[in-house]
């Protein structure tokens, strides 16, 4: 059995190619059908996210990279040549390592991002629904998810914010601890404000108020987070009620003056206030940061935080890669026993059929019809069979990956531990 992966991601393919390769949930059954039309494919999982599309396939016999390319590429919209140009192919151990790295976020656009873990889980769920997962990928799923969890707990790969808006929320937590019960004012309704509101909401902020020159946009954004909107010329009236202010407007001059904040601070008895200015040119006067108990950060400050956190994550990624390499070696060893399973099942079925037939013949000959007696005989025969097969089953698993040559006599002797009994 060999796992192979063909994929393309944000590093290897432009968005035009990625969107052509993307597989929606509705298209999945058709896609799986197409993959399994090749008799060499034993199992498969398709992972399709906004930044990557990957096809994991398990073949009974090892395949060359070109074979994999044609297996997948034939049915794709982009064609084999374009796929060859923008994709990567990993086979065997490399494919196993790749899957765990992807699930751990080591291969993501934002290093260590956690969403991919859920997307990998979802991909396996879909594959199972389409009957594409058997013994190998079942084990692979368990291994990938378990190792990913270990990576996340044992390394700091997912710690510290690496986006501007998330870093802003992280900074707010450094002042207020939990954001529960605190109020935030968002000045502007653009993409950055939307992201900041999302992160604030995710961090459990008590209430969000939005203000914007176009009130309807502010209302739309506020509605999404069950907050409220105030007209742009009225926001200074509520400044003393909010603890966090995030501003990102396109205004050419400052919209929050030092005087405004001074007055607000007086009203709130100088309780701490936190200002984040993500706009360029800046929305908040620099003098605000000099006021007592007022903390002001601009886009450059946040970039500094993000950069430091990114470096920290890169250091942690080295540890994560080492951890994954060790785990993959152990997985490869354990997966070798997988080829023993059909053998063991075959032997046991044969034995079971033989004892069943013998029991029926014996009962007919001895005219035994009492169900309790038959049950006792069945129990006795099963026990004997299990005892007889226990040693060979164990030895098949132990020696399945042993590539030394044995004579038939030696093999049988090994299988039944006959040397020990002599």
């Amino acid at each position: 059995m060999q796992l192979s992966v063909l994929g393309l991601n944000h590093n290897t393919a432009p968005v035009e190619v990625r969107e052509k390769m993307a597989v929606s949930a509705d298209e999945l059954p058709q896609m799986y059908k197409q993959i399994f039309s090749d008799p060499r494919v034993h199992e498969a999982v398709i992972l399709s996210t906004c930044n990557r599309v990957e096809y994991y396939i398990v073949t009974v016999e090892p395949c060359e990279e070109d074979e994999i390319l044609y297996m997948i590429g034939i049915g794709c919209q982009v064609g084999v040549s374009l796929l060859r140009k923008h994709s990567y192919i990993h086979c065997g151990t490399d494919a196993v390592t790749h899957m765990v790295r992807v699930a751990s976020g080591l291969d993501s656009l934002v290093l260590g991002e956690p969403q991919i873990f859920g997307q990998v889980k979802e991909a396996f769920r879909n594959a199972k629904r389409n009957g594409a997962v058997r013994a190998y990928l079942n084990r692979m799923e368990q291994f990938a998810l378990k190792t990913t969890k270990k990576v996340r707990t044992d390394t700091g790969i997912s710690e510290n914010a690496v986006s501007i808006s998330y870093a802003a929320v992280d900074l707010a937590k450094k002042i207020f601890g939990s954001l529960d019960g605190h109020r935030a004012l968002i000045i502007g309704a653009g993409e950055m404000c939307e992201l900041a509101a999302e992160h604030l909401d995710g961090a459990g902020i008590g209430h969000i108020t939005v203000t914007n020159r176009t009130l309807s946009k502010a209302e739309d954004l506020a509605l999404r987070f069950l907050g409220d909107a105030v007209p742009f010329d009225k926001f200074q009236d509520i400044l003393s009620d909010v603890d966090i202010v995030i501003s990102s407007t396109g205004a050419p001059t400052a919209v929050v003056s030092t005087e405004m904040v001074k007055n607000a601070m007086k009203k709130r008895k100088r309780a701490s206030m936190f200002f984040i200015d993500i706009a360029v040119p800046r929305d908040i006067e620099q003098g605000v940061g000099d006021l007592e108990n007022v903390y002001l950060y601009d886009i450059d400050d946040l970039k500094q935080v993000v950069e430091a956190n990114r470096k920290e994550r890169e250091n942690e990624a080295v540890k994560a890669r080492e951890l994954i390499s060790g785990a993959v070696v152990r997985f490869e060893r354990s997966i070798e026993t997988l080829t023993a399973d059909p053998l063991i099942v075959g032997i046991r079925n044969k034995a079971k059929n033989a004892t069943g037939e013998e029991l029926t013949r014996f009962c007919r000959k001895q005219k035994i019809e009492d169900p309790e007696q038959i049950a006792q005989l069945t129990y006795m025969l099963d026990s004997a069979m299990n005892k007889m097969l226990h040693m060979p089953t164990k030895n098949i698993k132990s020696y399945i990956a042993d590539d030394r040559k044995y004579t038939m006599a030696e093999a049988i002797s090994l299988l039944f531990n006959l040397k020990e009994n002599r």
């Binding site: 937590k173 450094k174 002042i175 207020f176 601890g177 939990s178 008895k269 100088r270 309780a271 701490s272 940061g289 007592e292 108990n293 903390y295 950060y297 400050d301 500094q304 935080v305 430091a308």
Partner: protein, 267 residues
Amino acid sequence: MAYDHAVMFYIISLMFLLVNFYFNKPFLQLFTYIFAALAIASNALQIFWDWQHAGIMHFYALEDVLMLLSLSIGIFYLILSLRYRKPYVGFFLLPIATCVGIVSLFLTPPPIQSSVLENRWLYMHIPFAVIGTAFFLTAFAAGIMYFVMEKQLKEKKFGRIFDRFPPLAVIDRVNNGALYLGFAFYTVAIFASSGWARFKFDDSEILDSAGFKIKVVLSFAAWLVFGAIILIKGKFGMNARQTALASVIGFLSVLATYIGVVVFIVR
């Protein structure tokens, strides 16, 4: 003997705390907690042993008072760290407990035997005063921590201190709690000491000494300072920064009391 071990454990725990401040590894934190717990257990064992051995709780020497103080601070450190799940919330407490422990090791108890020192009011006064002081010390440490963290936030220094120290709101919560509890304990201590002072003792040389009178005045002054802080806080409100400043100033007044004790009474 157990106290020697306690001080040794305090030192080891402090070393782990400092090393972990640099590396920030969970297992180093675990060792900090384990050794702090061992130090607390040994410290408590020594106090219990002394009590059993002498038959009474005696706190007539500064050595005994410091032993109880290091125990209280050690316990506060562990409780705060576990309660807030922030290993550095009591960052300044462990060094203080260690220093108090080391100082008390170098002190030898004076051979004082007096009925003045074997009174139930005193048994109440000293533990309450010491635990109250430990609370004030915690508030003081939180106050210092607040200013350090505030400086990091204001000057945008995103280094280790910024990363490790707890949020300002958490420091403020610790400060407030320690301030109120400290005042409550100190109030009981003051009342107990007035009960003690009303007794007529056969040998009241200690009570008549000038040093004792100075100590009484200083203790009362410290109680008044903290009383005033709490009153102003309740009546007019104080923000986190003002509370931190008040805790630092307040504790310095308690420190003056103890310097008074050392200079005028024990020595």
